[in-house]
Amino acid sequence: MPKYQIPIVDTDIHERVQYKDILEYLDEPYKHYITNCHWIQEKHMPYTQPSVAGVDRADAKIPDGRPAGSDLKFMQKQLLDDIGHEVGILTSALDPSPSSMHGWHEMAVALASAYNDWQIENWLEKDERLYGSVHIAAQDRDAAIKEIDRIGPHPKMVQVLLPIDDIMWGDPFYHPIFEAAEKHNLMIGMHHNEPPVYYGKWPRYFIEWHTLIPTAHMKQITSMMFNGVFDKFPNLGLMMIEGGFTFIPHLMWKMDQQYRDLRHEVPWLKRKPSQIMKEQVRFTTQPAEELTKKEFMSLLEQMGTDEMLCFSTDYPHWDYDSPYRALPNLDTELKQKIFAENARAFYPKLPNKKEG
């Protein structure tokens, strides 16, 4: 019997692949590079200590020793069945993944396709509640578009997770990717992996990096906004995953004020930036700052809408948000919006609310 009484659409769940599981989805010679040449993706994060089990919830490790997030049955038991999720959107553990991989684009492209196929076969087609994200190696743009065309039509793929690189997302380089996503009714998702929040380097402490992740999100929204992406692709939506939400009023006010002064530079903007954000940008809630109900309601009032926030747990990561405890106790109608309906209204490919 699920514990949670209102529907939950969880907008950030991390499934995780291990190299040995992805091999069968890779063609040669990529398989050879991994099996015989022991290739693994280079990672850079200098801090592996944040919590009791690195960046995972210590109780989410699979009992047989496999890492958290790598087993559907365990995830069903600990998360989906226990809480009673109606929908969960997978965002991967990004490793191995094309994100932040420089050089050797061929490998990045091959990995993205293999990952997508693995995700579909082992998760999306095994649990009707789970929906997925298309992974692409955006550094090879043409290959990325091909992959969106190949995988995008899958009925359970709801967004493209765009890797973060040193080209800002408003840059025309990405526009053909946005066009492909829009064509397939896919939204664009941003989830940090190894983002350049600190002028391309890592700060000395994890706590600095983790505190500043919202700045990386603010930069991409601002870039897409003033480069006219939202006007050029009116059916495109942007889901900002795990980057915070308390900065939203600040960014809206700041962009509106700048727009009033400097509109002449970006005449292609046909709506106020805050209006564009309300219509095309959404934010997942985790990791939620600890706000009182009064503070939370005042924040919504400052945003001028209660339709931008979408609940997420970030399971199985260390900073998981519990649906019972992470947000203040809200009135039922608002709860329904934040916990399910806002996300459902945002992703065109999510099914309608279950009756009954």
Partner: protein
């Protein structure tokens, strides 16, 4: 229920902790390196994580200076399995970062190798 034997002293080595039950409540019994026993509610006061899935460890202290760490209290700190908040076993289960908050605790005594939790 006023008191209950929750385990034997030999069930928990110094520097370890264990989940037990006291009536219908899940209780975390901790044994510090000096051999003493302490009992807390086995649920984190932040978002409710099961504390027994975390770790018992030491902690960097407020004697640390920028860039130089002071670490002690080995075996006297519970660290939550989710967000990693630290609680001092010997200081009434108070949170290191915010000592005004504490994990509810139970009284404990040892009699004939039995660990007894009571209110």
């Amino acid at each position: 229920m006023k008191e209950q034997v929750v385990c034997k002293t030999s069930d928990i080595q110094p520097g370890e902790m264990k989940e037990t039950s006291f009536g219908r409540q899940e209780v975390l019994v901790c044994r510090t390196p000096d051999g003493n026993f302490y009992a807390f509610m086995n649920q984190c006061i932040h978002q409710g994580a099961p504390l027994d899935k975390g770790m018992i460890c030491g902690a960097t202290t407020d004697k640390s200076k920028p860039g130089s760490y002071d670490y002690c209290h080995e075996g006297e700190v519970i660290r939550c399995p989710w967000h990693g908040r630290e609680f001092s076993i010997k200081n009434e289960g108070r949170m290191l970062a915010n000592p005004s908050k504490k994990i509810p605790s139970f009284k404990v005594r040892v009699e004939n190798e039995n660990v007894i939790v009571y209110k």
